[in-house]
């Protein structure tokens, strides 16, 4: 059994009852199964419909955080970015907040700034049902490889991504 030096959180969010919107959740579940199977310790998984303020407290307990979410933006199959608290944006409702907002709040309240990534996985269909479209499933497989790479090489990606925390 191996154990990463750093405590890592994989946090998938979205509504799995809205088809490809469940991509983030599925990624977290797959990574959880993979770490259990391979015996990699120190990796934890969380899921929820959307992010909110209490997640600032949750991520304050980790060294590395990887958020995973579905996207219908004009991106390639997947998009990986490193987040900075300064990316935070204030929204009208606060019924849901962005990963950068969670990171910013974590920094302000708990004075912690975990190395934080966001994996956006392109989705295509959003109807009221569970499951994934075929193209989304392919994108999920790529995202899983990306997440595994971060887990197995913690910290190394930070240098090659454009943004700095």
């Amino acid at each position: 059994m191996t154990k990463t030096d750093k405590k890592i959180l994989i946090y998938g969010y979205g509504n799995p009852g809205r088809y490809d919107d469940g991509l983030g959740i599925k990624l977290a579940e797959e990574i959880e199964a993979w770490t259990e199977k391979t015996g990699i310790g120190n990796v934890y998984c969380e899921t929820n419909y959307q992010l909110n303020i209490e997640d600032a407290e949750i991520i304050s307990n980790y060294d590395i955080v990887i958020f995973a979410d579905a996207s219908e933006e004009d991106i390639d199959n997947i998009s990986l970015s490193m987040l900075s608290p300064s990316d935070s944006k204030i929204e009208f409702s606060m019924h849901a907040v962005s990963p950068a907002f969670v990171l910013d709040l974590c920094k302000k309240i708990y004075n912690k700034k975990p190395e934080t990534y966001l994996i956006h996985i392109k989705g295509y269909e959003w109807q009221f049902s569970e499951g994934l479209s075929k193209k989304a499933q392919n994108n999920l497989n790529q995202a899983i490889e990306q997440a595994r790479s971060i887990i197995l090489n913690p910290g190394k990606l930070a240098g090659i991504l454009n943004k700095t925390a």
Partner: protein, 484 residues
């Protein structure tokens, strides 16, 4: 010509809120409307599905208040399996559901007050938006920001313990629940490490009320006059007139406090409440049939509940309710910003209710499900954080749902939110050729007071963008703001 403000949306939604304010040549507001672009596919989607799936399926509506939909659907299904309404369940079944519900109210209201309303109160409506937000609160009033985070976390953990899991919870099933609380779970909520225990939650709830009352004393004009207008009010109340957010009879009072809906059994709601459609919005306009479409509208939510109930059955919240009612000499309170005061009283009540339920051994019982003679139709109502939530289903002989009708809290508050927008638009925008960020924020503050879940009302994917447009007499857009 006013400066044009446009913030492009970055979202994947099917519905959103849009405010349109029409100005004449003298810069006077002549009309304002809150439009909701609504998607009503869910009632059709659920047709043909087995009835027992409804409490889980309805959580697909959106991820903002899935617990309220979960419980309302389960209450409707209680009727269908012959378990009756509310008090028909086993003590363990009913109390576990109540605990889940009060956990939901507690965390939702805490989020709203500490992280949505407090920036406007602490920094002022006209403050720089870069400061007037929760990040600003975290910098200037860290204790409040931390309390909001931890109260929300406590409520979420109550939900997880009662619903079974965070996503697509299965705790409530037709006729009861599928799990009770373990002693370890109960003790963790009663005696958990500081601050995550119920006594600390009550202490912080009282502190938040004191904060608001102090603020109110120093800012009476803003809190009392902002978007204030008379209205009728509707909510569930317990049969003896007490506040009961989980179950009861439907009561409405007019602006003078006279009962206009007389504690009816909500299974008959369709005989008393109609839903009007208008050509400028997809969202429906519920009204009391006896009074008619024109004047039969009403408010729902925390403010309405303070006005409809005779008393609150927990001691600390009851003291606060007495102060609240005394402020308007016992008459219904129509001040939109007093919604915050009402919400804080409900946070305290929810915390007291959770403590009472956690100390009740029934919560750890084994008698989970009750069933009786099946029927083909059921209505489930409860008081969700934002107001009365209606779920109505009819099934066929093959146990498939053939009709579903949902009236969500935000839809019930459709006209009051429109009136609040109009009131504030006239007060803040009239006579101004240039519209400032603060003026537009005033409109948002009025809407936010109702804590609308446009995502829920429109069945969007968990987000709630709002677009505000100013339009001149020739229908040209002269200013626009988008909050995504």
């Amino acid at each position: 010509m006013p400066k044009k403000i446009t913030i492009e949306p970055v979202t994947r939604v099917e519905g959103h809120g849009k405010v349109t304010i029409h100005m004449d040549d003298d810069n006077q507001v002549v009309q304002s409307r809150l439009h909701i672009v609504e998607f009503r596919g869910f009632e059709r989607f659920i047709q043909g599905r087995p009835y027992w799936e409804a409490p889980v399926l309805v959580q697909r509506l959106c991820g903002i208040c899935p617990v309220s939909h979960h419980l309302a659907a389960a209450k409707a299904m209680d009727m269908i399996v012959g378990a009756g309404t509310g008090d028909g369940l086993s003590p363990t079944g009913e109390k576990m559901r109540r605990l889940m519900h009060y956990g939901q109210i507690f965390q939702s209201h805490a989020l709203h007050f500490f992280h949505l309303a407090s920036p406007d109160l602490l920094f002022g409506i006209n403050a720089d938006p870069n400061i007037r937000n929760i990040i600003g609160v975290a910098l200037e009033h860290k204790d409040l920001a931390v309390q909001g985070v931890m109260m929300r976390k406590f409520g979420q953990e109550i939900i997880q313990a009662t619903a079974g899991k965070k996503i697509h919870g299965t705790g409530a099933i037709p006729g009861g629940i599928n799990k009770s609380l373990s002693k370890e779970e109960r003790d963790s909520f009663l005696k958990g490490e500081d601050p995550l225990n119920i006594d600390k939650m009550i202490e912080w709830s009282l502190g938040a009320l004191e904060f608001f009352k102090g603020y109110h004393k120093a800012n009476r004009e803003l809190i009392d006059d902002f978007a204030s207008f008379p209205s009728s009010h509707l909510s569930l109340v317990r049969k003896d007139g007490a506040m009961d957010l989980y179950h009861g009879v439907l009561r409405a009072v007019d602006s003078e406090g006279k009962k206009i809906l007389h504690d009816i059994d909500y299974q008959d709601y369709a005989s008393y409440i109609g839903e009007e459609v208008k050509n400028w919005t997809y969202m429906k306009f519920p009204f009391l049939k006896e009074i008619g479409k024109q004047d039969g509208w009403y408010r729902v939510g925390p403010l309405a509940r303070m006005n409809t109930v005779d008393f609150i059955p927990t001691p600390l919240a009851q003291k606060e309710h007495e102060l609240f009612r005394a402020y308007t000499n016992g008459k219904p309170n129509g001040m939109s910003m007093h919604m915050h005061w009402a919400r804080l009283i409900e946070i305290l009540h929810s915390a007291e209710m959770m403590k009472e339920l956690l100390n009740d051994d029934d919560i750890m019982g084994n008698d989970l499900v009750v069933k009786g003679n099946k029927t083909l139709e059921g209505v489930g109502l409860l008081e969700a954080p934002r107001g009365t939530l209606f779920h109505h289903y009819r099934i066929n002989r093959n146990d498939q749902i053939e009709m579903a009708n949902l009236i969500v809290s935000t839809t019930n508050n459709n006209i009051p939110m429109n009136l609040a927008v109009e009131s504030v638009a006239k007060k803040y925008l009239n006579g101004h050729a240039v519209i400032s960020e603060g003026m537009l924020n005033a409109v948002e503050v009025a809407i936010r007071a109702y804590d609308p879940c446009l995502s829920c009302a429109t069945h969007a994917l968990g987000k709630m963008p709002l677009e505000i447009s100013l339009v001149d007499k020739d229908s040209n857009i002269i200013d626009k703001k988008y909050s995504g």
